[in-house]
Amino acid sequence: MSDEKNVSRRDILKLGSAGVIGLAGSYLLNTIPGLTPAIKAATPGGNKHDNMNHGNMSTDLSKSEGYLMAEKLLTTFDYGKVSTLPSGQILREYDVVAIDKEIEIAKGIKFPGWTYNGTIPGPTFRCTEGDLLRFHFTNSGSHPHSIHFHGFHPPEMDGLDPIYPGQKFTYEFEANPYGLQVYHCHVLPLARHIHKGLYGNFIIDPKKPREPALELNMVMNGYDLDLDGENELYTVNGYANAFMNHPIKIKKNQLVRIYLSNLTEFDLLNSFHLHAVFFTYYPTGRNDNPSQFTDTIMQCQGERGIIEVRFPYKGKYMFHAHVSEFAELGWMGFFEVE
């Protein structure tokens, strides 16, 4: 560095002028998007969201395995193997098998379920008040299970004793009282056994038959995928948005009777809301219970009831949980009235 030049103060000031250029740039900083965020947040209509996709109507018309399960559960009732006893009493015998099975609970998502007869919810058992019922239960699952029915029965038929894998047990009792009941596994830990899928509806028809109607079975439930004690998905009949993409077909003015129960684990309540029309709700399916004429009812876990409704106009009627979160996580559907 023979020809090196000493740095004079003036040179140093020249260097500093770089900083002055920078100062000029500070005016530009205010225009950077990231620098002034929070204020705009509360301004309604201020942003370009008009162009954004607010509707989220899914147009998936494929009938996957999970949807077919939900559709089948909607209208299939298991009346059992019927015979008449010497006393004249009707005997109904049902085969129930607990099976570990992966269930498609939303398009593409498999849930490692514990099931009765391979579906979540389990089959809808149906009988008439006073019938003698025999549920031949086989546990083919990997854990002890049982069936605990709601209704009248001797305490030893209450389903508190676990039936171990590979074992069988026959629950026998008389069908009483009439109404909509539920059944579920009652082995501890209870929350885990129920949440895994061991539950379903159990209909005891009154001796005097109800008015003929289009009868639909609906069990509200939720699924906790990461086992953190919170549900990620909510459904009716086990498959998210089942009747959203495949509306339930109904005739105008036809009487529709819905057997609705709530077996959602982890959340305190679930609800049912029907658009554009009112329905009559009979708690626990009893005509002698005070009924409600409304468009929204709520059920706690294990609560159930019968909904009767007629649709006066043609078109699509939405129904969903009026807990918006549940609705948007899969518990939404349509009736299509023709």
Partner: protein
């Protein structure tokens, strides 16, 4: 003979192939399906667009992954995936979600795979991800200029003032520089770990930081020794030290730019202009540090320009990289390299200080030096209040 020798090298290799093949065919005797499916889906970046969100994702788990559903803010939402819904190991892709996001609001996106495994991505405060337009590019460049070039140039301006110092005072300034650099070293490392932790597990971000730092440190020391041997010089050239320091600080500033660019583009930096002023104050000391070794020589003006550019402009590159591209693993690597370079400068200056005091039969840790060192650390610590939030 040579053949025999080659064969002796091949035998263990062949045996290894046999063992691996045997295990692949017959299993290792611990055959068991994992208790739960192991899936590792990485959400590497979430871009917020006019229409919704674009998530860059990759599969770094052991098996392929199939994406089944997307939940945005507790609502099942429509989405599309490119190239396909199934991701093989190490495959990357983009999930596009049309969603009416709200400016400034947090949004949570959950991706659910076929096996019900949930990967969550979070947007702390939604704001439009800066598009790659010229004006945005210039704006981000300006932030980097502010955080890097401006303070360092200002710091270098103290040179004439410091030039009048006596030898002992110059040494105290060097000790102060060591304090500054030590703080920067630790800061750079911890920034590196922070960014490295965001990288996919399989790439071991933290290890990349450490390896980057160690290898850079050793490489620079080796390079230094080689140069000294070549030039037959015993002492370090002050300009070389300043240059090395500029490189190390430059990489550190790259990291700072990276952090600023990323947080601005993700809408996380709410402090805006205040943050920029903070960084300017914080980094001014870096200029002093770079000027310190030059006090014993007569530098040219262009040396200062060069040093200012080397140490400061990487901040501009950093804001661009953080704002428009951003890859955690590359960020971790750069910060690791920066830490290594800073450590090497600490080593060189300390050695220089010790040698100088030995030559004059003085203790190295004099009160003056100790005070300098402490003040260096404290300046960095206190000015960092402006940029930590």
């Amino acid at each position: 003979m040579k053949v025999k020798w080659l064969i002796s090298g091949l035998i263990p290799l062949l045996l290894l192939v046999v063992v691996v093949a045997w295990v692949m065919i017959n299993g290792a005797g611990i055959e068991k399906d994992p208790a739960a499916p192991i899936e590792v889906l990485n959400i590497e970046r979430i871009n917020t667009t006019h229409n919704g969100f674009e998530l860059s994702i990759s599969n770094t788990g052991p098996d392929s992954i199939k994406i089944a559903q997307v939940i945005v803010d507790d609502s099942l939402w429509n989405f599309s995936v490119s190239p396909t819904e199934t991701f093989k190991r190490f495959e990357e892709g983009v999930v596009t979600i049309n969603y009416p996001w709200v400016q400034g609001d947090p949004h949570v996106i959950k991706i659910i795979t076929e096996n019900g495994i949930i990967t969550e991505g979070e947007i702390t405060a939604a704001t439009l991800t800066p598009e790659r337009t010229l004006s945005n590019f210039l704006n981000y460049g300006f932030i980097g200029f502010y955080v890097g070039v401006v303070p360092i140039t200002l710091g270098l301006l103290w040179y004439p003032f410091m030039k009048r110092f006596s030898r002992k005072w110059i040494n105290a300034i060097l000790a102060l520089t060591v304090g500054l650099l030590l703080f920067l070293f630790i800061g750079t490392l911890s920034d590196g770990f922070e960014i490295g932790a965001e990288a996919p597990m399989v790439l071991q971000g933290n290890m990349v930081v450490i390896l980057g730092a160690l290898l850079t440190f050793i490489l620079l020391i080796g390079f230094d020794q080689y140069q000294q041997k070549k030039l037959q010089k015993k002492a370090y050239s002050p300009l070389n030290i300043a240059l090395l320091m500029a490189v190390g600080i430059g990489l550190h500033n790259f990291g700072e730019g990276l952090a600023i660019g990323t947080s601005f583009s993700l809408g996380e930096a709410a402090l805006g202009t205040f943050l920029i002023i903070g960084f300017t104050l914080h980094n001014i000391t870096e200029g002093i540090g770079i000027a310190a070794p030059l006090l014993k020589m007569k530098p040219r003006i262009r040396d200062f320009v060069l040093l200012g550019i080397i140490a400061g402009s990487p901040a501009i590159l950093g804001t661009w990289f953080g704002g428009f591209i951003f890859s955690p693993i590359l960020g971790a690597l750069f910060l690791g390299i920066g830490a290594g370079a800073i450590l090497q400068v600490i080593y060189v200056i300390t050695k220089m200080l010790i040698n100088d005091h030995k030559k004059h039969s003085e203790p190295t840790v004099s009160w003056l030096n100790f005070s300098g060192f402490t003040i260096g650390l404290l300046i960095m610590y206190l000015t960092a209040f402006f940029v930590k939030y």
